[in-house]
Symmetry: C2
Subunit: 361 residues, 2 copies
């Protein structure tokens, strides 16, 4: 048997989405992945522990009923948006939700639009689902170019706040796209809880809009793989038709419910991240030849006047066991993306960074 002949068409063209570099020993400061530095609160951990019982033998509730109820009645209720459990779809992380959107709407050859730079999975999914893909280059300040408002296509992915620069797009911009775009508009608000901007209120007006959110980052549950979509109930019904019957683990559902119940504790931790984001941005901006993009996320995108200096910083940081994200792609070589951590760890990073400025700037 020749395996190559059995693989699906265009298999070689698929570019695998590769997770970030991960050190396998302790002692590293990992600022290269956008995890929350604060673990779930003790009370949340205790509630998850309580659920480790004889029920583990059972299949999870297949529709995430209790979690959908909790999201709609508690989390969404003050967001001026759709608040019926039938407007919510649960899947295996935001990534699972994004893939299900592909399965629901995309035929081979359908036009998918996303911006550059942005989250890499949109491209990978477009390749896997054999869509035609159009990458629209963002302006130098990472805003959406005027040309985007006349685009046609089946689906557009918008990451807001956008990874890697961190800025959320305003609802004026999203509204304009929803109005003119003839297909499905997906706003991926993976980092949406680190700012006040959200497209959730637009859902009442636009039936072609899907908002994707996750418990991974703002709720410190990356390990558990819980994401959700909010949209028109017809879209949610269609998405349910093509998902796997038991797509989300029982403990994931329990953990997410507990996080919403104790959201005040969660938001208190996130406030610290937001104030640290401000502090790091201000501190780093003071160096000559360094600027920091405005961020609404739990990371900042730091620009060096020179690509080679940026790389020297990254190498030296790595020698000190500090990992930041370098995106080796056109136009991005002189940037590093830094995830906001606890004040202590941020100080550790700033100290090392300051040493390097003396060496290289």
């Amino acid at each position: 048997m020749d395996l190559e002949n059995l693989l699906r068409e265009d298999f070689d063209k698929i570019e695998q989405y590769l997770p970030r570099e991960q050190p396998f020993e302790a002692g590293w400061l990992e600022l290269n992945i956008n995890e929350n530095p604060y673990p779930p609160s003790r009370v949340i951990l205790d509630e998850i522990k309580m659920a480790i019982n004889e029920k583990l033998r059972l299949y999870p509730e297949p529709t995430g009923k209790d979690l959908r109820k909790m999201i709609s009645s508690v989390f969404l209720v003050d967001k001026k948006t759709l608040t019926n459990p039938n407007n919510i779809f649960i899947d295996n992380g935001a990534d699972g939700v994004l893939e299900n959107i592909m399965k629901t709407f995309i035929n081979p050859g359908d036009q998918i639009i996303y911006f550059y730079p942005t989250y890499g999975l949109y491209k990978t999914l477009s390749l896997i689902y054999k869509a035609k893909k159009k990458e629209i280059k963002l302006n130098d300040d990472f805003s959406i170019p005027e040309s985007a408002y006349s685009l046609k296509g089946k689906l557009i992915f918008i990451n807001s706040p956008n990874n890697p620069n961190g800025k959320a797009f305003s609802n004026d911009v999203i509204l304009k796209i929803c109005k003119y775009f003839p297909g499905i508009v997906v706003i991926d608000e993976t980092y949406g809880d680190f700012c006040q901007t959200t497209a959730l209120p637009l859902l009442k007006e636009f039936k072609n809009l899907i908002i994707v959110r996750t418990f991974s980052n703002s709720f410190s549950l990356a390990s558990m793989r819980i994401g959700y979509a909010v949209a028109n109930d017809k879209i949610i019904k269609a998405m349910n038709k093509v998902r796997l019957p038991y797509n989300v683990s029982y403990l994931g559902q329990i953990a997410a419910i507990s996080c919403i119940k104790h959201r005040d504790l969660v938001f208190k931790q996130n406030h610290k991240i937001i104030s640290e984001r401000k502090r790091l941005s201000e501190t780093l901006s003071k160096y000559n030849g360094i600027s920091v993009e405005p961020s609404d996320a739990n990371f900042i995108f730091v620009k060096f006047s020179d690509k080679s200096i940026c790389l020297k910083f990254i190498w030296d940081l790595k020698e000190k066991k500090v990992l930041v994200r370098h995106i080796s792609q056109p136009g991005l070589y002189q940037y590093m993306r830094i995830t906001i951590n606890t004040p202590d760890n941020n100080n550790k990073f700033l100290d090392i960074f300051d040493e390097l400025t003396k060496k290289y700037l």
Copy 2:
């Protein structure tokens, strides 16, 4: 916007895989879903609890490295099969593995073959991935008809032990299919740990063979969504290319590792299920007009001489809060599928069943 026009082609043709009926109050005896009646042992629950800590904030190890090592070095080592971690692929339940196989190999229009009756997801996946599907009717004794050995296609799904009848196909049969079938042969051994028959040893000989297994049933972890595939490393590498980057939860990986570590406890529980399967089969076979199919799984398929009597039993059982599975499909109306439970619950079922025999037989 007209949503119907935005849905992918053939959306209406997809038949959603619907999970079984689930009562929402306590007090029901659910013999309609093939869950393990024994919860994970105390020591396994404790090891999962130990993992409920600050690590929940982190993304899971993306390749299931430790779990793959554990499966290959401990679980597979005495199975005369491939035993390298690179021969193992982890996903979100056996269902997740099956879907990833589709993503790896299937183009729209490719021929997929599966038997009838069998696990319903093969049909649903064929529809979602727009494959041509061919359902081959099993013989009346649920054996594979001779015609199956000359079939051509891209992929064949074989559930062994087969749901709903419960019998595993012998390796002579599987070997013959592997030899003649020009595409990928998928043996779904979801219920494979309830018998000695497994196609795992054939992996050394056949590069087109994929064995799918799960921790849901025999390891009592249905809640956690952990399945895996064992196959040639080239197949595993290809499957990794199209899966989502973080497809399996951290706690799922921890729980599965713990189950393998304490497999002796798990197998002891499963021995009880196997001996109860024998007892139930023998007891039910004694009634006039009732026969029981030979089973290698954790369920039995019980045949009534008359369809309407079968339905009367099912209705009356339901009135007594006992659920069994009725598969309302051609040729299967006179059967009920019963999941093996604990001796006490099985006795409860047998008592009610015996009453009904006096009423209806």
